[in-house]
Assembly symmetry: C2
Homo-oligomer: 207 residues x 2
Amino acid sequence: MTVRAQRLPATARRAQLIDVARVVFAKRGYEAASLEEIASKAKVSRPVLYEHFGGKEGLYAVVIDREMEYLVRRMAESIATGAPRERMEQAALAFLVYVRDQPDGFAILTHDAPMSSSGGTMSSLLNDVAERVGDVFASAFKDAGYDPKTAPIYAHALVGMVTFVGQWWTDVRKPPVEEVASHISALAWMGLRRLPKKPARLPAKKA
Amino acid sequence: MTVRAQRLPATARRAQLIDVARVVFAKRGYEAASLEEIASKAKVSRPVLYEHFGGKEGLYAVVIDREMEYLVRRMAESIATGAPRERMEQAALAFLVYVRDQPDGFAILTHDAPMSSSGGTMSSLLNDVAERVGDVFASAFKDAGYDPKTAPIYAHALVGMVTFVGQWWTDVRKPPVEEVASHISALAWMGLRRLPKKPARLPAKKA
DNA sequence: CGTGTAACTTACGGTTGTGTAGGTACGCGT
DNA sequence: ACGCGTACCTACACAACCGTAAGTTACACG
């Protein structure tokens, strides 16, 4: 017989459950994750989850929402100021810092999302991020005389770069993200043709 | 009562089952796919699947193996000859042609892979591709005086670019892959700084 | 010190999916 | 036409989940 759970106020319990669910969804992905496991890791019985979130989809939605919110805010802050090249490097760095400091959150974003219950296609969460980047590019392209219709290509290319490198870095955890970010932005900015031997590190940005 | 399945020789049935499984795994991902659905789509009862592949993991393993084999062969052929810049564009093009012509196969590679049954981590299939690219880069970097330890960064960055753009292209299906490939390789080679207004198309390569 | 309500639980029903045991029919070779 | 093996099926045992109903404990407040 499992010991009775410690009684918590609703909001506190809710917060704890979200934290636990984050970890489980990160490790297993949506499909393979079970409410059973989440409940047991939270030292609580399953109906509590239904009480708070209505079911698996509801819980997942809350977790996703929080994570996207967090990431997008961080990215937006990081690219608010500076010259184009600096913004790009800052964006890459912000993303990689997220990968480093919130590995569970990052894992969730890279896992398969559940089907939209009406049977639609499987959609990558990071597509939303890429689309926002695409908007930025589209207007910049317009000003600079490039074809704005090609903007999504470049936007997705850049998001794909950092995402995939981030996944690799998660395994290796070396070198430090600042160095990785400078390599990535060097590649994106200079191209392979004029790759600097050792990309310069960004000066620390003051908060 | 479902009609009795048409009797097929083992090898033919096996081939058909792999084809059907490919489609189902592509649409659902490993976890959400069920042998039930595969069997029914193949107009066959479930035990037939066990007869041929031993179980879900076995079937999945066969499908994956075929797909990786196919993709890697295509990529290897495409980068066999030419100057560095051309090879890169050819590689990107080959990948995107695969995305276009084998959408199911590509979907499978981008979906979550099942856990290695001993409880390991979820591994992206495309990591293997990136690692091969990494080897190419490592030796090239050594010759050119770059730090070979940074090669994986660039390899993963490039694979991530085409993968993510490929996923986007799957939704939009426009512009033609040849144009997308030339944009991508222009970005990777020239960098954002010196982006050409309209990247030149590659001359058709003779088989 | 009761009493009501918020927080949690045990218990059940139903569905879906994996894997296996044992039986049936098709059609080829002779 | 008659085996006989290959191909295939029905049926079952079992486990994992999801979701819900109904009951139980603890704490706050009059």
